[in-house]
């Protein structure tokens, strides 16, 4: 359909808690296609959330299958409408960046394994278990739906290191 422009912080839409999408109708399907087109056009991107293209509805797309980190362990292209994390376990830290916050990266601690419930593009209810990089990517995109950027979750390099030390 269309490659949309990625909004950059401080656009207020990026700090908005998004509304659930009521039904899988034409409009939602068009939004999903725009998300996919925008993610593919960005080349290196492994996910885009609706607010990043200016829509405050709860939809994200994630695809880590083409990235070095996610190649071995993924569900292919995931379209998630009204996604919710049901369960999470383990912690892992990864250096994250975001298309909406260029030129800045930070260490973010996230769950290593998650169980997510969502409606897929065909309108079917799905529950999947994701781990590793795919789990990190999903958590990053889902945060966008609650107006959270990775900057809201950055943990300090030094305190992180020394907290681990004292355990």
């Amino acid at each position: 359909m269309a490659v949309r422009e990625i909004l950059l912080y401080p656009d207020p839409l990026l700090k908005t808690v998004c509304e659930p999408l009521e039904t899988m109708d034409e409009r939602t399907d068009a939004l999903v296609q725009d998300l996919i087109d925008t993610m593919v056009a960005a080349g290196h991107s492994v996910g885009v959330a609706a607010p990043q293209i200016g829509v405050t509805g709860r939809a994200v797309v994630v695809d880590v299958s083409k990235s070095k980190l996610g190649r071995e362990n993924n569900h292919g292209l995931l379209v998630m409408i009204n996604p919710e994390i049901l369960q999470s376990e383990g912690r892992e830290t990864m250096r994250e960046g975001c298309m909406s916050v260029p030129d800045y990266t930070g260490n973010v601690e996230r769950a290593e394994k998650i169980v997510v419930q969502f409606t897929d593009r065909a309108g079917k209810e799905q529950v999947i278990s994701a781990s590793g990089f795919e789990a990190v990517a999903i958590q990053h995109e889902l945060d966008h739906l609650d107006g959270l950027l990775f900057l809201d979750r950055v943990s300090n390099l030094k305190t992180d290191v020394f907290r681990r030390k004292s355990r």
Partner: protein, 179 residues
Amino acid sequence: MSHFALTIIGRDRPGIVSQVTEILFRQGFNIADSSCSILGGQFAMILIIAHPEHSAKEAFIEAFAPLEQSGLSVFVRTLKPGGETRPHLEGEICMISVYGSDKPGIVYRVARELGSLNVNITDLNTKLVGSEKRPVYVMMLEAVLPGGVSSEQLAEVMRRLKDELQVDISVRNITPVEL
């Protein structure tokens, strides 16, 4: 816009940042980049500051006199145009953690290996932790690998160094993921 490097250090106490930044604010400076931390009980501030009018430090250096009077050391250097920008660093980024019982030469030996591989150190922190009787030296280092050097290769070099220095060294790739 002229840029200056400002370095301030002095015994740590509450209020240093406020004291310094009030002067910068009143003089019309922008803080372009900064890193501040407590090092061995001293509060150290390194700032890159910019001013739309001043091109020589002589024009404002007097304004820092109160800092010197309150026990802080102030050093200002004028940056050459172009020297103030953030360099664009390409390549894999690695985090190297080194820790073990304290002995002279840990930083030098690790840095020497990195230098000879043309690896660029972009961030370096060291700390003495553990008890007074049995101090443990911890070094956390972030480095950008040049093309042709992989993190596995670097890990191999560090493994050898680990045996030589009798410390623990780990190398992990932390190249940022853009999501």
